[in-house]
Amino acid sequence: MALDDRKTQFTFVGTRPDRPDGLDKVTGRAKFGADISAPGMLHGAILRSPHAHARIVKIDTSKAEAHKDVKAVVTRADFAELPFQPGLEGEFWNVLENVMAGEKALYDGHAVAAVAATSALAARDALKLIEVEYEVLPHVTDVDKAMAPDAPVIREGAADYSVPEGMHPNIVRYHESGHGDVEAGFAEADLVIEDSFVTEATHQGYIEPHACLGMLGNDGKGELWCTTQGHWIAQKTCAALLGIETSQLRVTASEIGGGFGGKTTVFIEPVALALSRKANRPVKIVMTRSEVFRATGPTSSASMDIKIGMKKDGTISAAQGVFRLQGGAFPGAPGDMTAMCAFAPYNLTNVSQIGYDVMANRPKQAAYRAPGAPMGAFAVESVIDELCKKLGLDPVDVRLKNAAHEGTKASYGPTYERIGLVETLEAAKAHPHYSAPLKPGQGRGISCGFWFNHGGETSVSLALSEDGSAQLMVGTPDIGGSRASMALMAAEVLGIPYENIRVTIADTATLGYNDVSHGSRVTYASGLATIKAAKHAVEKLCERAAASWGIPADAVKWENGCAIPSGPNAGDFDPRPLADITAHMGQTGGPISGHFEATPEGAGVSFGTHIVDAEVDPETGKTAITRYTVIQDAGKAIHPTYVEGQYQGGAAQGIGWALNEEYVYGDDGRLQNSIFLDYRIPVASDLPMIDTVIVEVPNPGHPFGVRGVGETGIVPPLAAIANAVSHAAGVRMKQLPMSPPRILAALKDNG
């Protein structure tokens, strides 16, 4: 990526204007996934397995089909035949198998059939008429048990090339990396701590359940409206699963009510299309909350062993981690990402990390904000904290001493470019929170966190109007105010007011391919593409001005929204504002647009440091978070308020994960807590205000220096809170969530 257009002085970027879609979203006008209907629309509903693992012997849909309000029933036979492939290579097959079970139901909540009827009530009633004969099989839901020799096999042949011979078939991918000699490093250490840690699966917990409206004709042409983080991936996947051409399916993304990684794939969308194809009518499906918990992507559960050696002066001499991640009944648990991120904040001479991707009878894991990184950070940063405590060292000083910086060889291999970890640690040390006194019963924890960030395929188009306003089309759904960031960046380049730019999330038929809104890529990649598209338009504006002045195009430059002559020989002409040029564009060469299509590479990794105070009731084990500060490198904050929002949201989700959120399975393999009453995400009264510090160490891979900010914020909280709770309680907590029964039991065990 040519970064000749790097910029450090800004007019619009860094300001905090109202978001363009604000009015729609405070008046109830914004259309989310379930807020649409179509003439002749049917309502779909999905029948789900009550068993964790069962062979589907027979499905009899005849009674449902005979129901007067039912217009279509589908099972796996109504989808395309896709070839099975091992590992993640056969991802279309995996998604299809998840969307509608084939030979076996692989988890409690796995879809086995679906109906479309004239009302939502009728569809639900009709599900009861479908008879499924199951042969119940032994199941396993725990990651360590799933790896044991006697564990039931979820699916033979799912493992890819990476898994060494002799491992259980439920281990489907294996990662090993690092450098140096860890044994030699441990020998140099003054203190070595080795410990094991466990985290339970959590759900992204977006408040909007999955919802879609699909129409597919027998001619293979279709329309799909859905709530998604990426409508092009929905298009591509649905087309593959239904055996139609990608371009014949037009997908429109609704406003999205939260995703956090969980809406990067499809669940109900292919089902709605399959029902529609059979019924010849539009079909709407809206998941219930219980379906969301039972059948959409929780994150992985994890079991981890960490060994770290430290010298008396705080130098880490060696670090080793084994990370076993359970990702449901399909390959995909990010054990490799956990391994690569776990030690990434540190400058280590000797480091070794192993990651496992393990299948179990649970729903297919989906990405959740920096997938894989938070659990690894929890384990590693807990051990570092314990080392600091035992050696009597300040936890920030120790992290500063070992912190990775530009030129450090990362734990995952390459040498870092300019990064901002040290700056976040220095900001932590200087922050009043870090030196504030604690009350009795309170403890303070800190943790660092790392995430890679992502670029991804990106297309952006910008069209100028005759009146000098601009419409910007991007393909990344606006999850948290990205329209505002895009408009700010376009305004910066065009030199016209922010308010004169209308940002639209284009559908798949009106813009080129765009990768999903994930990997914290939107402000980075769509932002970069927006800047380039605006530059492209500016070039054309300059050409028009040059032609009007009769001078060469390269003798014109763009400043403050005007074309002006540039250089000594360009001549003396009055500046021509954008609107002056566009007013006549039809007669001076035609409409003016700019566009950009590429896969920006250079997302720029990011780091954060969190400080948290926790208070533990020693009689009940209940924890209150009393103060929280997030410090994170944003590269460059385009709209600082929304950057703060990402930091605060990441911290809040981390608090939930650390303290109370977990998937609870019964001995029967069924999910016990599939409603918000029992899946306990933080409520307003659980949290303090969340302080933020935006550190800006520009990313060399973005013209304005942007680094993604969405994901890194959830990496440090688990460890920071565990450290705070462990100090408050006087006992090291090694299992998440640190629910009151676990803390009270730990306190009792500790005497």
């Binding site: 590992g87 993640l88 290579e89 890819d160 090339y161 990476s162 060494p164 294996y174 990662h175 090993e176 990396s177 690092g178 956090f260 990684g261 969980g262 990067t264 990010p334 490799d336 990402m337 690569m340 070794s352 989906a366 990405a367 959740y368 904000r369 920096a370 997938p371 990362a410 995952y412 291999g413 390459p414 040498t415 870092y416 470019e417 890679f452 960030n453 992502h454 670029g455 991804g456 994930h518 990997g519 914290s520 890529r521 896969t599 590479e601 250079g602 997302a603 990794v605 060399p700 891979g701 994901e711």
Partner: protein
Amino acid sequence: MVEVHLWSGLRSLTGGQQVVEVEAKTTGELLRALVRAHPQLQAPIDAGVSIAIDGRVIASGLTEPIPEGSEIYLMQRLRGG
């Protein structure tokens, strides 16, 4: 020639080698050259890899130029949320 550093898990596919020297001007050429040198590397490459050039992670692009003498690391394909 550039030296390509592999993650240690791949040593079983390269006869124990963790650094492979290949001739390549772009990321795509580099991957092809790796497979020529060690055909078993096709599997991890098909499963998805990223390439770090002097510390910058190229997630998937096959046309990124590889400057002479640059530091090259093969990495597992990054996935985000």
